[in-house]
């Protein structure tokens, strides 16, 4: 009698169940941010077509994008960019510069840099409200 091997569980389930270390998180996030950014680039290109319809149309649209909610969203978007960019650099180091030998170290350095830049950008973007906030405290 021949045995009937049981087919394995699907890839999604395996992915969810399997132990995750820093490297596999990095990959999952890289994928998500990559897709997110690609979607965003489409939206972005579309949104900017309003430039061709004259100042009225564009500034009207920008009213929406300069509300505080959108500003925060914009800042958060930057975290996606930073994450994907720096992790991308890490991948390039792994692929091209034997970074695989030190991938955990590179991970720490690159993510550290990313966080610094992210906060830095936050400070830049929100310097006015921040300044106001500090002023009121004082």
């Amino acid at each position: 009698m021949a045995y009937q091997p049981k087919p394995p569980e699907g890839w999604l389930k395996t992915n969810l169940k399997y132990y995750k270390h820093s490297g596999s998180w990095a990959w999952i996030l890289h994928r998500i941010t990559g897709l997110g950014l690609t979607a965003y680039i489409f939206v972005h290109i579309y949104a900017l077509t309003s430039l061709t319809q004259g100042p009225q149309a564009f500034d009207n649209e920008m009213k929406l994008f300069t509300t505080p909610v959108f500003k925060v969203l914009e800042w958060l978007l930057f975290s996606l960019v930073l994450y994907h960019a720096f992790n991308g650099v890490r991948i390039v180091l792994v692929d091209w510069a034997s970074g695989a030998r030190n991938h955990k170290k590179i991970l720490t350095v690159v993510y550290g840099l990313g966080v610094v830049l992210f906060i830095g950008m936050g400070v830049l973007m929100f310097r006015e409200p921040l300044a106001n906030m500090f002023a009121s405290i004082r």
């Binding site: 049981k6 394995p8 890839w11 034997s98």
Partner: protein
């Protein structure tokens, strides 16, 4: 000291689905191997519990299994390497067909291994003495030659979960073993095999393989060398 193993069981003659069974076992100390506990479960509690093993010290590659969600060798994982205060979950290697309990069908894995022509090809007639090779060149192969074909890496790779035809880290590592052997003449043929949509390009440097490899082989590094070689060849 009591520890609990929560073992996935599946007997195709009886069960339609895998299920879990808990075994409460007596462990001497935290240096006990998981393999010893599996033996205890089989020999003292349930003789139907089925798993592969042979050498019991991490050199034959028989007993790759998933322990607490992670691929490892039962014989090289000690209690102290896992959280034994909670039940330790033991499952077969993911993504391969389950034959019974912890035994998976490895034929696909071996086929991928054979696909990269895992043998030295040297077209010049053999000299009377050994072919000379510097120790540096020899040592470049040693890490990859450590592989025991346990399958922990390939079955831990998300790319191999979604694309079962992905040739996988173990086969790529084997390709490295010969592509970079100074005595070998068939590098090009091997590179052809891995330069396919199901070849090296499915590796996204996820490092699950490296985390899983019981022989501590940095497989991703070896794959990166191969990819560079492939890219250079195309340029």
């Amino acid at each position: 000291m009591k520890v609990t193993l929560r073992i996935q069981k599946y007997n195709p003659e009886k069960d339609s689905e895998p299920y879990y069974q808990e075994f409460v076992l007596e462990a001497g100390d935290e240096k006990e191997r998981i393999l010893d506990l599996l033996h205890q479960a089989k020999w003292k509690h349930d003789g139907t519990l089925t798993f592969r093993r042979s050498c019991a010290h991490g050199v034959c590659g028989s007993d790759g299994i998933r322990i607490n969600g992670r691929n490892r060798l039962a014989c090289s994982t000690l209690l102290r390497d896992v959280n034994y205060k909670k039940p330790i979950v033991i499952e077969p290697l993911p993504s391969l067909p389950i034959v019974k309990d912890l035994i998976v069908d490895m034929s696909d894995f071996y086929k991928k291994y054979e696909a990269v022509k895992p043998y030295l090809v040297n077209n010049s007639p053999p000299p009377e003495h050994e072919r000379l090779q510097s120790n540096e060149d020899a040592e470049k192969l040693f890490e990859s030659a450590k592989c025991i074909l346990c399958g922990c890496c390939t079955t831990s790779c998300p790319s191999s979960w979604s694309d079962e035809n992905y040739i996988g880290p173990a086969a790529l590592l084997k390709a490295y073993r010969f592509v970079f052997d100074t005595r070998d003449d068939a590098a090009d043929e091997r590179l052809d095999v891995i330069d396919t949509p199901d070849g090296a390009w499915r590796c996204h440097t996820i490092f699950n393989c490296v985390e899983a490899c019981p022989k501590e082989i940095n497989i991703t590094w070896h794959i990166s060398q191969l990819k560079k070689q492939l890219a250079q060849r195309e340029m």
